[in-house]
């Protein structure tokens, strides 16, 4: 499928044809909002996006999975709590924990679902200021060895949109110390902590580095003219989120740096 830019010549990057063979599943639950954006990000990065439905009982032949943002099942019980028990999630949990170590990325509500699934430790609670927040957020990439961050440099700062209500990451001190010691804090908020998350943590990974979750939205910063730069002129940040998707695609087809 060809992506047509909505504004004249403002197309993102020239994707490498060799990546097209990599199939990234994008999960839709009732109440998911960002599945189209995530699928578009996969395509703009050069890969093939495969729609997955929460009631599916197989993962098909996908090479990785993105669990996008939104409000699965209305978030009525707790954010992500009901989605965790969807038939497709048990397949994702098994595949992520298997020897094959399926790469899984949870964004925002997807991150909440991954903590509820116990694929990632800790939990998400309401923002400390109790308000929904939407802003361009600077993040530092603390770990560039996960399946989803290989195309970044450790210490690199990126700007991507953030929008959430239950974005406060919490875990007990022992878990936080272990995450730090094992390099599993993958992203930290820079300059401003938008939700009161412990130790400014914006995203974490599992021990193997194939499962990554974060609150901010890299899939909303993948195309020139539509990213954070066009809002506040930070500069150079329009496509900062693209690296998530090129990272996993390069890893899948092999030959990553």
């Amino acid at each position: 499928m060809t992506e047509l830019p909505l504004i004249g010549e403002a197309i993102a990057v020239a994707a490498e044809p060799r990546l097209a063979g990599a199939r990234i599943g994008v999960v839709t639950f009732p109440g998911t909002l960002d599945d189209r954006d995530a699928a578009r990000a996969v395509r703009l990065a050069g890969g093939t996006a495969v729609p997955l439905w929460h009631a599916d009982t197989t993962l098909g032949d996908v090479d990785a999975v993105v669990i996008p943002g939104g409000f699965s099942y209305g978030d009525y019980l707790r954010a992500g709590a009901i989605a965790r028990f969807a038939p497709l999630m048990s397949k994702i949990i098994d595949a992520a924990n298997s020897d094959a170590k399926l790469p899984v990325l949870g964004i925002c509500n997807g991150f909440q679902i991954l903590t509820e699934s116990h694929l990632l430790p800790g939990s998400m609670i309401k923002n400390d200021h109790l308000k929904f927040m939407c802003r361009d957020q600077v993040l530092r990439v603390e770990n560039s060895n996960t399946a989803w961050t290989l195309d970044y440099e450790a210490g690199q700062e990126i700007t991507v949109p953030l929008k959430n209500q239950d974005g406060q990451y919490i875990a007990d001190e022992k878990v936080l110390d272990a995450l730090e010691a094992e390099g599993r804090v993958v992203f930290r908020y820079v300059g401003f902590n938008p939700n009161g998350s412990r130790r400014d943590i914006a995203g974490i990974s599992n021990a193997a580095g194939n499962v990554v979750g974060l609150m901010p939205h890299p899939e909303h910063a993948v195309e020139v003219g539509f990213g954070p730069e066009s809002l506040d002129g930070i500069g150079g940040s329009d496509t900062d989120g693209l690296g998530f998707f090129t990272s996993v695609l390069n890893k899948i087809v092999g030959g990553n740096k």
Binding site: T115, S123, N127, L130, D172
Partner: protein, 83 residues
């Protein structure tokens, strides 16, 4: 019809932003005697017929797995209430 009531509260060491917002609002309405508020959840599970030990055990398991998140919440009460 009997119901099983499950009460879930945020763990004591977890900051409860909703409780904090409520305790901040109380004095504005003239209620000045309360120094802290914690907001929890009450679930009512209706049972068709008698509540057996097996059904109560199911309710406890549901409370620990789905109704609460053990990372941030405690199940503080599971009890049978006759309608």
């Amino acid at each position: 019809m009997p119901r099983i009531v499950v009460d879930v509260m945020p763990k004591p060491e977890i900051l409860d932003p909703q409780g904090k917002a409520i305790v901040g609002a109380l004095p504005r309405l003239g209620f000045t005697s309360f120094s802290s508020v914690r907001q929890g959840k009450r679930f009512e599970l209706t049972v068709e017929g008698e509540v057996t030990d097996a059904i109560l055990a199911q309710a406890r398991e549901a409370a620990e797995t789905l109704l609460s998140n053990p990372v941030i919440e405690d199940v503080v009460n599971v009890e049978v209430v006759e309608a």
